[in-house]
């Protein structure tokens, strides 16, 4: 909400289809190829300008898990033998689809 219009603000806002907003560190969000391209300053789409990404495909619950994964990935992507993330079984298919969509 606060960090609109600041192109290189270190945080971006991800909005789920049902209106939940997540403030995420830019570097973490860019774990997703789709979001990275969305925010690419050079391409300069509206998302890059506002720093807000409306993700119409994802529900709040899924997005929350996705954001959790972003941080998890950013934290551990260099280290090996890390404990698996806890994935609730009922979400796993939707998460798979989200992963496909977000190119993570």
């Amino acid at each position: 909400m606060a960090d609109t219009n600041k192109e290189l603000s270190p945080f971006v806002t991800l909005v789920s289809a049902d209106g939940f907003e997540f403030h995420v560190r830019r570097s973490a969000a860019c774990v997703s190829g789709t979001i990275r391209r969305m925010l690419d300053v050079q391409n300069n789409f509206s998302e890059a300008q506002s720093g807000v990404c409306h993700l119409e495909n994802l529900s709040g619950i899924v997005l929350e898990k996705v954001v959790e994964y972003f941080y998890y990935n950013e934290k551990h992507h260099q280290s090996s033998s890390v404990a698996d993330m806890d994935i609730p079984a009922d979400l796993c298919l939707e998460l798979l689809m989200a992963a496909d969509y977000l190119d993570t």
């Binding site: 994935i87 079984a89 009922d90 969509y101």
Partner: protein, 810 residues
């Protein structure tokens, strides 16, 4: 697995998204409009997420193919209309004209710049736009490329750019494509820059980068970059022509210096151009072009350019030019053939010159002396530094100067190149050995400075001179001849007490030892040892004599050198060894010493070398009642003669000879020095003439006067003792040859003993190899020696006459 184990239930995803039937056409309509917006640079109005979601939907609906084809045709239409028209408009007639009047060339240049910048700009824009579209269509790319069906839409679009823009004809009536035009314009620009104008380098760099990013085919292999396949060959061709022309022009118009500096400037320019304007990959190629067309084709001619070529550079010490030249030659040929040959010839030429002038001086010999004697006002002729010595010293000094010069060149211009060093060494060797008297000259030179009369030089200077003399030694091929000369000269120095100091002699020997090996100096060290022993012996004898003859006050003081016969190269003919009659006082001392020495070392034989000795005596001349006493240093023979006049008023030559038993030849010289030589006329001679005849009479000379109280009488022909006459030289040569014969024998036998059996060829090579450290053996001599060894049954011939070989017979 773990999920199921916990009993959780997998919930099916909400169908909301996939449920609604998507209308392909309308979705495409949205994308289509958006893509046109992107090409119009209005992306900030668009939501990436929305576009992405739409593309995603289409692909999920298995409409990927449909989407792909649509995008492709959209791109084609955009390229054909918008982009192309922008560029073709700028391909103005002035740009297409190849004629160049003054105004049109300026016009053409600006037109060219506009054209290139438009083309690169549209390329850059287009690739950014396509990049954005590709991002939007990422999902499509991911699916289709993963299935291996199609290349990425980005590649396709760039391929389209190549086909639709670069390969398109500039206009309907011309067959020239835009790419051709671009390349032509670029080459024009570079030609402009080569002729010294400023051009827009970043612009050229940008267009080259464009060509580097485009490929011939969609597989995008590294080697099919347009830059490599199309532009670079043309560029290299054009450069080749350019530099071929320039090389010829430079040769016609400029001198070697300009050529070299121009060539190195071009090299620098081209590599700079590759870094700043073109591409780094071209650098080695274009450098190779310059090397081949500009340097390799002309360098030999440049080196030999009369007036400015290498000859002039070396003569005038143009170090920088030479360094340039060296760098150029070094580029094209690691072995430096042309440069090496030129320098070699030059050194040989100068060397021949030095040799010739030295030999000439040497053969002029007595001429300058004669006229000087006739001019009485001129004072004494310059020191009896004989012509030969002068020639030798001059020769060596010239050679050293030359060497110093080339050493400097080698260090500063040729960057201490190993090949050049070797070549220079060979050149020096060649011309030094071209002088058949080189070993004698070097030895004379060393002699000159080892003698105490190198007086106008400080010790350090002498030391440096000797050092450099030693460096010359290694160039000599006939080291054994040098050895015998040096040996002889050194012996004389030591006996005549002329050497600066024994320390200097010793350090000289150790220098030689370093250069030439142990064996070389063994004999010389023997000399030094003998001299030292003799000194001790003299002291011991003096003690001995003092004890023995304390009562008799001996008037004679004896100092002598006892020399080992085999070590000293003093030639003794029979006549010189004939025992002479000494004056009583001296004879007594002589006997006493003999007794002393033989008592100390039984079984040894003492032979007196009268002609080497020297005596200091006191002589009193009375005239008009005044007595003047001189202290005169004379050779032994003189002493013997002069002592006779203590007892006799007048003696004929024959009488003197009878009384002293001095060999005739020696006596003539002795008499000349005491009765004829103008400064030291201690005796009067009747009749007064230069020649001494057996009937001449000698008497005391009461009119004798000398400006010093102490002086020295030199034996007439001894003054130039250091140089050999022709006969002696032959003698030395013969001795050296004999010596060599022995060495060859020894070498052959040693080799055969180790190998038992060898072919003729092998034996020759090995023998030559062993001997070459001492001298340059002649093949004929080795063959002769092998013959005699076969006669003496050291060797036998192998059984096969077609393949000559030898066996060793134990």
């Amino acid at each position: 697995m773990s999920g199921r184990a916990r009993g959780g239930k997998i919930r099916a995803p909400r169908r909301a998204l996939t449920k609604d039937d998507v209308d392909c056409e309308s979705v495409w309509e949205v994308l289509h409009r958006a893509f046109r917006e992107i090409h119009a640079r209005n992306a900030s109005q668009l939501s990436f997420e929305e576009l992405f979601r739409n593309a995603y939907k289409l692909v999920l609906k298995k409409k990927g193919e449909f989407l792909f084809e649509n995008v492709k045709s959209l791109e084609i239409s955009i390229l054909d209309t918008d982009v192309k028209s922008r560029i073709v408009d700028l391909a103005t007639p002035s740009l297409l004209l190849s004629g160049s009047s003054e105004t049109s060339s300026v016009e053409k240049r600006t037109a060219g710049e506009r054209f290139i910048s438009a083309l690169t700009k549209s390329y850059q824009d287009y690739s950014i736009e396509v990049g954005m579209i590709t991002d939007v269509l990422m999902y499509m790319d991911r699916i289709s490329t993963a299935e291996g069906r199609k290349p990425s839409i980005f590649t396709i679009a760039l391929g389209l750019f190549r086909e639709r823009i670069l390969r398109a004809a500039v206009s309907e009536e011309l067959s020239m494509s835009i790419l051709d035009l671009l390349e032509m314009t670029l080459l024009d620009m570079i030609a402009l820059e080569r002729s010294g104008e400023m051009i827009d380098r970043p612009l050229i760099k940008a267009s080259c980068r464009m060509l580097e990013n485009l490929y011939e085919t969609i597989t995008e292999e590294e080697s099919t970059k347009l830059y490599l396949t199309s532009f670079e060959p043309k560029y290299l061709d054009a450069s080749r022509d350019y530099y071929r022309n320039e090389g010829q022009l430079l040769l016609q118009e400029a001198d070697a210096t300009t050529f070299c500096s121009q060539a190195s400037r071009r090299l620098k320019e081209e590599s700079e151009r590759c870094q700043q304007s073109l591409s780094r990959v071209t650098e080695p190629k274009i450098i190779a072009v310059i090397e081949k067309e500009l340097i390799a084709a002309h360098i030999a001619e440049v080196i030999n350019l009369p007036g400015t070529g290498i000859r002039a550079m070396i003569t005038n010490d143009k170090i920088d030019d030479l360094r340039n030249l060296y760098d150029l030659v070094h580029r094209i040929d690691q072995r430096l053939k042309p440069l090496k040959d030129a320098v070699h010839n030059l050194v040989l030429e100068v060397g021949e010159e030095i040799n010739k002038s030295a030999l000439q001086t040497a053969s002029e010999k007595q001429q300058p002396k004669a006229p000087e004697k006739k001019e009485p006002g001129k004072g004494p002729p310059p020191k009896p530094l004989n012509q030969q010595t002068v020639a030798a010293v001059n020769w060596v000094e010239e050679v050293l100067k030359l060497k110093a010069k080339y050493d400097k060149l080698w260090e500063r211009a040729f960057r201490c190149d190993g090949v050049m060093e070797k070549s220079l060494e060979i050149s020096f060797q060649d011309f030094i050995n071209g002088n058949s008297r080189a070993p004698e000259f070097v030895s004379l030179f060393l002699d000159q400075y080892l003698k105490s009369n190198g007086k106008d030089k400080t010790e350090a200077e002498v030391d440096a001179l000797l050092d450099s003399g030693v460096t010359l030694l290694q160039y000599l091929a006939d080291k054994d001849i040098l050895e015998s000369y040096y040996h002889k000269h050194m012996a004389k120095r030591l006996l005549m007490n002329k050497t600066i100091s024994r320390d200097v002699e010793r350090s000289m020997l150790s220098k030689m030892k370093v250069k030439l090996g142990n064996q070389f100096t063994v004999k010389m060290e023997g000399l030094l040892k003998d001299v030292e022993l003799s000194e001790n012996l003299t002291k011991q004898y003096k003690d001995y004599a003092a004890k023995l003859e304390a009562k008799k006050s001996s008037k004679v003081d004896l100092e002598m050198h006892v020399l080992t016969m085999t070590v000293w190269p003093i030639f003794t003919s029979e006549s010189e060894l004939r025992s002479c009659v000494y004056p009583a006082e001296v004879a007594q001392v002589k006997e006493s010493f003999e007794k002393f020495y033989l008592g100390k070392h039984t079984g040894r034989k003492l032979t007196w070398m009268h002609h080497m000795g020297e005596a200091t005596m006191r002589a009193t001349f009375k005239k008009d009642g005044q007595a003047v006493t001189y202290e005169v240093a004379v050779p032994t023979f003189c002493m013997m003669v002069l002592m006779l006049f203590n007892d006799h008023e007048k003696l004929t030559f024959d009488e003197i000879q009878q009384l002293t038993n001095i060999p005739t030849e020696q006596l003539i010289r002795t008499m000349q020095s005491v009765a004829v030589a103008p400064k030291t006329r201690l005796l009067k001679k009747e009749p007064m003439s230069r020649d001494v005849n057996p009937t001449d009479e000698f008497s005391h000379n009461p009119d004798f006067k000398h400006q010093f109280r102490k002086f020295k009488v030199a034996l007439v022909s001894e003054q130039s003792n250091k140089v050999e006459n022709a006969e002696e030289r032959k003698e030395t040569q013969k001795k050296a040859d004999d010596q060599r014969g022995l060495l060859v024998d020894a070498a052959v036998v040693r080799i055969m003993k180790a190998r038992k059996s060898l072919t003729h060829q092998q034996l020759m090579t090995e023998t030559i190899q062993i001997l070459s450290s001492r001298f340059q053996p002649e093949v004929a001599m080795i063959k002769k020696k092998i013959e005699t060894l076969i006669d003496r049954e050291y060797l036998e011939r192998g059984p096969d006459p077609a393949n000559p070989s030898y066996n060793y017979l134990a």
